[in-house]
C-alpha cells in the first residue's frame, strides 16, 4: 500500500545476554523522533547511550508530518536538515476556505533572513530514517532494535531495566533512563504514573494518498466544504507527491466503516472529482486527548515527548514539542552525567518543559474548540467569525485552524537572569528562543557553539570569555542588530538549547559568569 520502502534495521544480540553487564550512563526507551535526537545530542557532548526499541523499523504511517523551523535547527547540528528540506515540501503559506470560498491566507514566516523555513512537510518515517542513519554511524550510540522494555525498577542512583529480545531476557543498568516511548508509554505504565487531562470525542479520518496531479504547496483548511458539508477538512502535501487529507467525521462515526477503502474513496471522489486517480498510502481514524504528567522527572527516570505530554494534532505541536523537550534535556543531562552540574538542574527541565507543554496544550485545545465546537454558543461564535472573515480583517485573525508550532516561552525560569538594563524595546528576552539571522556569508545559528554562546555586538575581540561559553562576535550592521535590539556592547548569553539566558547592554565578564553559573544550576543568584 505504501510507496515508502520500510527497511529492517539489524537486530544484534545484546552483550548483557552473555553476562557482560556494565552500568550505562543513559538508556533511552523508544526510537521515534525524540529518542534518537536525544542520543545524538548526548553523543555530541561525549555521553554514550543505548536506545531500546521494540520494533526494527521506522514509524508506520506518515504520522507527524510538519517539521517546524526550530526542529530543523536542532537536526541541522547533525547535518540532516538539508536532506529533510530537499526531500520534503517547504511551505510558509496557508489558505482557509469557508464552503467554496477562500477567506483567509496566512504567511507563517513573513520576514526573510532565516536559514530554515517555517515548516517542511516530511513524513515521520523519513525523519526517523535520517536520524537512525546518523545514530548507527555514531560510535557512542548503541541502537538496539527488537529490544522491548518489560520491567523498570528505579533505585536511588540508577534504574534497572528488564529487556526482552528474540534471544531472551536480560537486565540493563542505567544511571538515567529516559522514556521517549510515546503516548502509551510502557515505562509510565510500569511505574504506575498518572497521565491526566482532557479527552476529545470527535473522530478524524486521515487518508494519505498519492495523486497524479500537482497541487499547490499550501496547507489548506476548509470549513463546511461542498465535498464534506457537515465538517472540516485539512489538506497537506508531503514528500513523494503524497497528500494528507484529514476529514473531520464527528462523534458518531463508525471508525471501522470509515476506514474501508470504498468509503474513503467515496469521500475523496467528492473532493477531487470523478476524473482524479489516486493510490492509498495509509489510512487511519483517530481521536485525541490533551494530557500531561505531573512531573517529567521521577528520580532517575525522565519522560520526554508524547510519553510526558500529548496534544491534539492541530498546530504540529506533538513531534516538534518532543524535539524541543530533548533539546532542553540533552545539555542538562550531559552536565549532570559529567558531574559538572548538580542533579537539581534537571528540575528545570521539568519546570520549563511543563510550562511549554501547558502552552502547547492551551493552543491546541483552543484550535480544537474552534474546529470542533463543543456546545451551541461555541459553534455560533465560530460560525460568526467565519461569516465575518471575508469582509473584516480582524475576524480572519480569529480563525483558529491550528496555531502552528513556534518555540514556546519559558518565562521566569530559575536558570535565566532577568533583564537589569531597563531600556530593551525588542529582541528576545530571557526565556525566549534565540532568533536566526544572516551573519557574514552564513547564518547566526551556524556560528553558535555546542554549549553556551556569547553574542557580542560591535566588538571584534572580547578577550577571554568565561569557560563553557563560545564567543560569537557580531560586527557590521546586518539584520541581527535589529533582531536583537542591539547597540555596540550589547551582549546575549544563549543556552545550548538556543534560549536566551541573559542579556546586557555592556559586556561584563563577571555578570556573564554569574549568569552561566545560574543557567547551569551551580548557583541561584
Amino acid at each position: 500500500m505504501s510507496s515508502y520502502q520500510y527497511r529492517r534495521y539489524p537486530y544484534r544480540r545484546a552483550a548483557e545476554l552473555d553476562g557482560t553487564a556494565v552500568r550505562r550512563p543513559v538508556v533511552i526507551v523508544g526510537a521515534g523522533m525524540a529518542g534518537p535526537t536525544l542520543a545524538l545530542e548526548l553523543a555530541a557532548r561525549g555521553v554514550p547511550s543505548v536506545v531500546l526499541d521494540e520494533d526494527d523499523t521506522v514509524s508506520i504511517g506518515s504520522r507527524s508530518i510538519c517539521q517546524a523551523k526550530h526542529s530543523l535547527e536542532v537536526w541541522d547540528r547533525f547535518g540532516i536538515s538539508q536532506r529533510m528540506v530537499d526531500k520534503g515540501i517547504t511551505w510558509e503559506q496557508g489558505e482557509v476556505y469557508l464552503r467554496d470560498r477562500a477567506i483567509y491566507r496566512f504567511n507563517l514566516q513573513p520576514e526573510p533572513g532565516h536559514k530554515f523555513p517555517a515548516f517542511v512537510n516530511l513524513q515521520q518515517y523519513y525523519v526517523e530514517e535520517f536520524l537512525y542513519e546518523r545514530c548507527l554511524a555514531e560510535p557512542a550510540i548503541e541502537m538496539r532494535f527488537r529490544n522491548k522494555v518489560v520491567g523498570v525498577a528505579p533505585h536511588a542512583d540508577h534504574v534497572v531495566v528488564e529487556v526482552e529480545t528474540p534471544d531472551g531476557r536480560y537486565t540493563l543498568e542505567a544511571q538515567w533512563l529516559v522514556a521517549c516511548d510515546g503516548v502509551r508509554s510502557p515505562v509510565r505504565h510500569m511505574l504506575g504514573l498518572p497521565f491526566e487531562g482532557e479527552v476529545f470525542h470527535d473522530q478524524f479520518l486521515i487518508a494519505d494518498i498519492r495523486l497524479l496531479d500537482e497541487l499547490p504547496k499550501e496547507r489548506r483548511f476548509w470549513f463546511y466544504p461542498p465535498f464534506h458539508p457537515t465538517n472540516s477538512v485539512l489538506l497537506h502535501r508531503q514528500a513523494d507527491n503524497v497528500l494528507r487529507v484529514d476529514f473531520q467525521l464527528g462523534r458518531e462515526a463508525d471508525a471501522e466503516e470509515e476506514k474501508k477503502t470504498e468509503n474513503v474513496d467515496r469521500r475523496l471522489c467528492l473532493m477531487f472529482g470523478p476524473e482524479a486517480r489516486w493510490e492509498h498510502e495509509w489510512t487511519s481514524v483517530y481521536t485525541f486527548t490533551c494530557r500531561m504528567m505531573q512531573r517529567f522527572v521521577h528520580g532517575r527516570v525522565i519522560f520526554a515527548g508524547d510519553a510526558a505530554h500529548v496534544v491534539s494534532p492541530f498546530g504540529a505541536r506533538g513531534g516538534n514539542g518532543a524535539i524541543a523537550d530533548v533539546d532542553n534535556l540533552a545539555w542538562k543531562l550531559a552536565l549532570v552525567v559529567a558531574g559538572t552540574a548538580p542533579e537539581a538542574l534537571l528540575d528545570s527541565y521539568c519546570s520549563e518543559r511543563r510550562a511549554a507543554a501547558r502552552e502547547n496544550i492551551l493552543n491546541s485545545t483552543r484550535s480544537t474548540d474552534f474546529i470542533t465546537p463543543k456546545f451551541p454558543a461555541s459553534r455560533a461564535f465560530r460560525d460568526a467569525t467565519l461569516t465575518l472573515a471575508p469582509d473584516f480583517p480582524f475576524a480572519r485573525a480569529l480563525i483558529n485552524s491550528g496555531r502552528l508550532s513556534v518555540p514556546t516561552q519559558q518565562l521566569e525560569s530559575p536558570l535565566d537572569t532577568p533583564d537589569s538594563d531597563g531600556d530593551w524595546v525588542g529582541g528576545p528576552g530571557p526565556g525566549r528562543a534565540m532568533l536566526d539571522a544572516p551573519v557574514g556569508n552564513g547564518w547566526l545559528i551556524d556560528r553558535l557553539g555546542r554549549d553556551f554562546s556569547l553574542l557580542t555586538f560591535g566588538k571584534d575581540d572580547v578577550g577571554t570569555v568565561p569557560s563553557g561559553a563560545t564567543a560569537v562576535p557580531i560586527t557590521g550592521n546586518g539584520l541581527a542588530w535589529q533582531r536583537y535590539d542591539s547597540r555596540p556592547g550589547t551582549t546575549y548569553l544563549i543556552r545550548p538549547d538556543r534560549y536566551v539566558a541573559g542579556r546586557w547592554r555592556t559586556y561584563d565578564p563577571a555578570a556573564v559568569s554569574a549568569a552561566l553559573d545560574r543557567a547551569t544550576g551551580r548557583s541561584h543568584a
Binding site: 454558543a377 455560533a380 460560525d383 460568526a384 467569525t385 465575518l388 473584516f392 480582524f394 475576524a395
Partner: protein, 63 residues
C-alpha cells in the same frame, strides 16, 4: 486601564436600544444566537480594550 463605563454613553438611548431589539425581530432563537455572536465580535473588536471586555464579561455573568 479604562474601567467599564457605568453611566450613560448614548445620545439617543431609546433609539439605540430599540434598534438592537428590532434587529432581532422575526428571527428564530438560533438565528438570534448567530446574529448576537456576529454583533458581539464586531463590537468587541471595536472596543479593543481587553480589560473593559473582561469586566463586561464578568458583569454580564453576574447579573
Amino acid at each position: 486601564m479604562t474601567a467599564l463605563r457605568r453611566t450613560l454613553n448614548l445620545a439617543r438611548p431609546d433609539d439605540v436600544y430599540n434598534a438592537i431589539v428590532d434587529a432581532h425581530k422575526g428571527l428564530s432563537d438560533e438565528q438570534c444566537r448567530d446574529f448576537d455572536a456576529r454583533l458581539i465580535l464586531l463590537l468587541v473588536n471595536h472596543i479593543g480594550d481587553e480589560a473593559v471586555i473582561r469586566e463586561a464579561l464578568k458583569e454580564a455573568a453576574a447579573t
